[in-house]
């Protein structure tokens, strides 16, 4: 949640991959994230059961060899639903982060390069957006424009914009007075060229770290919205919706609530570990402390 305002002074990216995979946090996070992503991809080709077939006889079966994670109140296989639900969670979070970066980073860089009223306006705009509790507004947006995955993406994406704008601005602001930027200005390069050649590459790693954090938050937010019935609509399974369905059957079929929740926890944990590891690797200030 807290982002350092100064960009990391990472060495050029020759040995970064080696450093990264030597980092326990990064490695664990990377493996978890890769597994979840693989699971989501696999679900396009194969799932243990076809979840569009409702088999009443198999209702609320506990864990067994046939259904490793049990079945739900319609007799659908929970493992299969979690696999397909992963697609939804990942897609929503990826696009929401994409919206946030795509709009926020240019805004933040622009504000830092121009300064003056542009910068002031951006800061005030951020104040206004941050004054709305994010989930409340997401609830409003999806409720107003109708529930569904697309509106959930937009609702979560909008709140990523000021986050990335702020990170990009803070990083860029601390780079502009650097001597190498002054040297580029003395070489006659304009604001756009300097931003592209010097600013963006040097704030890329902070943006990447923030990206993993927002990705994790996006997964949580999507789960919250679908829990309220405002995310992806049935029959498309989503982890949040599965939890909502499970709530009233907690006493008879606790597995129905436990496994989708675990799926969320593991995914978010993986992303956070990935982000922590990336920060350790990319920010030599932390590396030195170790």
């Amino acid at each position: 949640m807290s982002e350092a305002s100064a960009p990391y002074e990472a060495p050029p990216p020759q040995s970064l991959a080696r450093l990264a995979f030597a980092n326990r946090s990064f490695l664990t996070g990377f493996v978890i994230t890769a597994l979840i992503a693989a699971m989501a991809l696999l679900s396009f080709l194969w799932t243990p059961y076809d979840i569009t077939h409702l088999i009443v006889a198999d209702r609320m079966k506990p864990m067994s060899w046939q259904h490793p994670l049990g079945t739900d109140h319609f007799g659908r296989d929970i493992l299969s639903m979690i696999m397909i639900g992963a697609r939804n969670s990942i897609a929503v979070a990826v696009v929401a982060v994409g919206i946030g970066m795509g709009l926020g980073v240019p805004l933040g860089c622009w504000a830092a390069a121009r300064g003056g009223w542009v910068d002031e306006a951006l800061m005030r705009f951020n104040d206004v957006v941050f004054a709305f509790p994010a989930l409340l507004s997401a609830v409003m947006i999806t409720a107003i424009f109708g529930p569904g995955a697309v509106n959930a993406i937009i609702a979560i994406g909008i709140f990523n914009v000021p986050v990335f704008a702020r990170v990009a601005r803070a990083g860029a602001l601390s780079l502009w007075p650097r001597e190498y930027v002054l040297a580029a200005r003395a070489a006659g390069k304009g604001q756009v060229l300097i931003t592209v050649e010097h600013i963006l590459p040097n704030i890329a790693s902070m943006l990447l770290v923030q990206g993993t954090i927002q990705f994790a938050l996006g997964i949580l937010a999507e789960a919250g919205l679908s829990y309220l019935g405002l995310g992806a609509q049935p029959p498309m399974p989503s982890w949040g919706r599965m939890l909502f369905d499970a709530q009233t059957r907690m006493m008879v079929a606790p597995w129905q609530a436990i496994f989708p929740g675990l799926a969320i926890v593991v995914t978010v944990l993986g992303l956070n570990l990935l982000g922590d590891g990336l920060r350790d690797v990319l920010d030599p200030r932390l590396r030195r402390e170790r």
Binding site: A131, I144, L273
Partner: protein, 315 residues
Amino acid sequence: MIAFLTKRIGIGLLTLLAASMVVFGVLEILPGDPAQLMLGMNATPEALAAMREQMGLNAPLLARYAGWIGGLLAGDFGRSFTYSSPVIDLILERAVVSLPLALIALALSTAIAIPVGIFSAARRGRAGDTVSMGIAQLGVAVPNFWFALLLVYVFAVWLRLLPSGGFPGWSAGLWPGLTALLLPAVALALPQAAILARVTRSAMLEVLGEDYIRTARAKGMPRRYVLWRHALRNAMIPVLTIMGLQFSFLLAGTIIIENVFYLPGLGRLVFQAITQRDLIVVEGVVILLVASVVVVNLIVDILYAVVDPRLRIRA
């Protein structure tokens, strides 16, 4: 100090003004006619027109906005058509659930997180640090409503120690009220506590690497003294920032948590009002929540200045 405060209050008011326009504007462009919603699909055109007139929907946009703001300032939040009662009454009735809930959660999260964060920073790299930060890493990843479901399962269904939901009202006594809020507050607080503990730890570590910490140690001050008397106060700035943000999270979190526990609070009120298109209620609650976020941010700004003398002169 005065200049600093004036500027912050000014920014807060501007933010509030802009937010009110956003709220009003968004609800204004909503599909669906409020008069129609109120009277149902079978209403005659005449009745609809009369209703529109009565609700003031025919006035120009700006006039309606001004009327709405004027009403808010006078404490008149309008009248809900689904509950047929003044919005302000609804809000007050629900606030006595949500406000204690958010405050208990905030207190709980702070009381757990800050000592854990300091403890971890002081023992960095040792077993205590590793274990508590491992738990925090896990806590950050847990969605609060799922955690709430687990709490209900363990404490209400299995151990039968606490109620699984609902709210008896404060008239039933302080104790039943508090027990009804306990599980929701814990569910809200723990994920936030995990975040805050991590922030506290990293802020402390950052400060402990500063030159002035070395100066204090060179003075002969013991490690523990330096930790509490020199490092903690400097580490408070990022911690306060996160606490300010968390208040906003907690407010929003009540929407979900109140739904899990069937608590008659503001979150549930606004959620139901949205699904029922009771716009006047939505407007009122949202603007109130935004105002409380602005006020909390202002308090955080003032606390910054209390903690850090450098901010007292900068306007």
